[in-house]
């Protein structure tokens, strides 16, 4: 692995991976700093898979090689989800810029399919396998949906840390920008299931549902992104045929009635 130390490059000069999701690129001042590993975190149904697929489709349109590693769902089913996009064209997949892998196929090749818990050696083999695919296909954008499900096979915090650290380091060393999907339960106070992923990641995009006086709004917030200035505000999100759209969450002048502050004694 030819490690590059991106931490010494000033933020302004870091090349960007333009996500193609206009509002997100604006929030990030031009896009995700290239080679960052970003945790896309949120509970079920908040739009993580949809956002990540759109990121890859825009990459493929720019003729960057893009890979979706599906862990929880069959990738064929995934394909059915992107067809309604106005900007999606089947030729993106047929001509090779956008590809899909189901992780059970990788597990099978590595003899891991029946394993309920991976050893450190097997974790290294899995990462080496992914690295081989990334290098051979010159993958510039990668999505793993979800890393939480991979971590389920790792069991201990030590192994999860080892896996996340090596995976992110490997992807970064090849200039690959990645969205690693993290599933959390709605009440989870933290950004990732195991707590270690969030500390290691270069960025965290938090997706959620917000209830406001009986209305349920979909939200997105960039909590952390190394290598760029960015808005940390909460945005309201819509998943549409023209892609993910975002507008700022209205605050109505800040302090909500009855939300503390109140009368002081």
């Amino acid at each position: 692995m030819a490690d590059k130390d991106y931490s010494i490059i000033p933020d302004k000069e870091r090349e960007r991976c333009v996500t193609g999701i206009e509002a997100l690129d604006t929030i990030l001042n031009g896009g995700i700093p290239r080679s960052n590993s970003v945790l896309v975190t949120g509970s079920c149904g908040t739009g993580k898979t949809t956002l990540s697929l759109e990121f890859l489709v825009h990459g493929a349109i720019k003729e960057e090689n893009c890979l979706f590693i599906s862990v929880t769902e069959d990738s064929k089913k995934m394909l059915n989800n992107i067809v309604p996009y106005d900007f999606f064209d089947q030729s993106l997949i047929e001509e090779g810029n956008l590809s899909f892998i189901d992780i059970p196929d990788l597990y099978d090749e590595l003899g891991l399919l029946e394993k309920s818990e991976f050893s450190f050696k097997e974790i290294d083999e899995l990462i080496a396998k992914i690295e081989k695919i990334v290098v051979e296909n010159d993958i510039k954008r990668l999505v793993i949906d979800s890393v939480t499900s991979v971590c389920f096979q790792l069991k201990t915090e030590e192994k999860i840390r080892d896996f996340m650290l090596h995976l992110m380091k490997m992807l970064s060393s090849h200039g690959c920008t990645s969205l690693l999907i993290s599933e959390i339960s709605p009440e989870e106070p933290r950004y990732s299931q195991y707590g270690v992923e969030e500390a290691i990641a270069d960025g965290i995009i938090m997706m959620g549902n917000l209830e406001r006086q009986g209305d349920l709004l979909r939200t997105l917030q960039v909590v952390k992104m190394r290598g760029t200035d960015h808005s940390r505000a909460k945005y309201v999100l819509d998943l549409t045929a023209v892609g993910v759209l975002l507008v700022p969450l209205l605050k109505g002048g800040g302090v909500k009635a009855g939300s503390g502050g109140g009368k002081d004694g």
């Binding site: 406001r212 209305d215 819509d238 023209v242 759209l245 507008v247 209205l250 109505g252 002048g253």
Partner: protein, 199 residues
């Protein structure tokens, strides 16, 4: 102030990117709507995005059809019908927002329509500020207008915010004065009036 008959001419003098508050008397309401959805956009081959939080899009469509106004270039964002009709019967050319309290979703639907149906020029109508203010706190409403208008201005859209209140509300007038470039009071046909108020 302008008279209803003088409105089309006044509209034609506006620059793209203008945000205009239209203070409308109840009796002139439908005439103002037809001026905004017919003559004005037709002259410029413009797309109209009509956001309603007052009366249902079905009623407005009914009126436009009665006046033989083509709806080919009109899209509706309807924030009043969802609660009564549900999501199942979304007619063509109409996008529902669940409730007029979901102001962000109104902005998102407008943004969606602008992207989905790209046009050289666009008009966005907000009908009306009064009904939105019934459902929303004025601070959140003014924040909404601020963000929406600056976004629409960046797209060079015409924005019209209707105010059809029977009685004057100083707070709403002030809010409109803050966010709009122009404040046009439309007076009914047969009244004599003074000159328009420019801000």
């Amino acid at each position: 102030m302008v008279s209803v008959q003088g409105l089309p001419e006044k509209l034609d003098s506006l620059e793209p990117g203008s945000a205009v508050a239209l203070k409308v008397d109840v009796d002139s309401y439908f005439e103002v709507i037809t001026a905004l959805t017919d003559k004005f956009p037709r002259n410029r081959e413009m797309q109209v995005i009509y956001t309603t939080s007052t009366i249902s899009s079905a009623t407005i469509i009914h009126v436009l059809d009665a006046f033989d106004i083509s709806r080919d270039n009109i899209q509706f964002v309807d924030a009043v019908s969802y609660m009564t009709m549900g999501a199942s019967k979304q007619p063509e050319g109409v996008t529902f927002v669940e409730s007029p309290t979901m102001l962000e979703n109104i902005s998102l639907k407008i943004e969606y329509l602008l992207k989905k149906y790209p046009a050289d020029e666009n008009t966005v109508i907000i009908d009306s500020i009064d009904s939105l203010s019934i459902h929303n706190d004025n601070r959140i409403l003014s924040e909404f207008l601020h963000i929406l208008i600056s976004n629409l201005r960046s797209h060079d859209c015409f924005t019209f915010i209707l105010s059809v209140s029977e009685q004057d509300s100083e707070e709403i007038d002030n809010m409109l004065a803050m966010v709009c470039d122009d404040f046009i009071e439309v007076r009914p046909e047969n009244e004599s009036g003074s000159t328009e108020v420019e801000m």
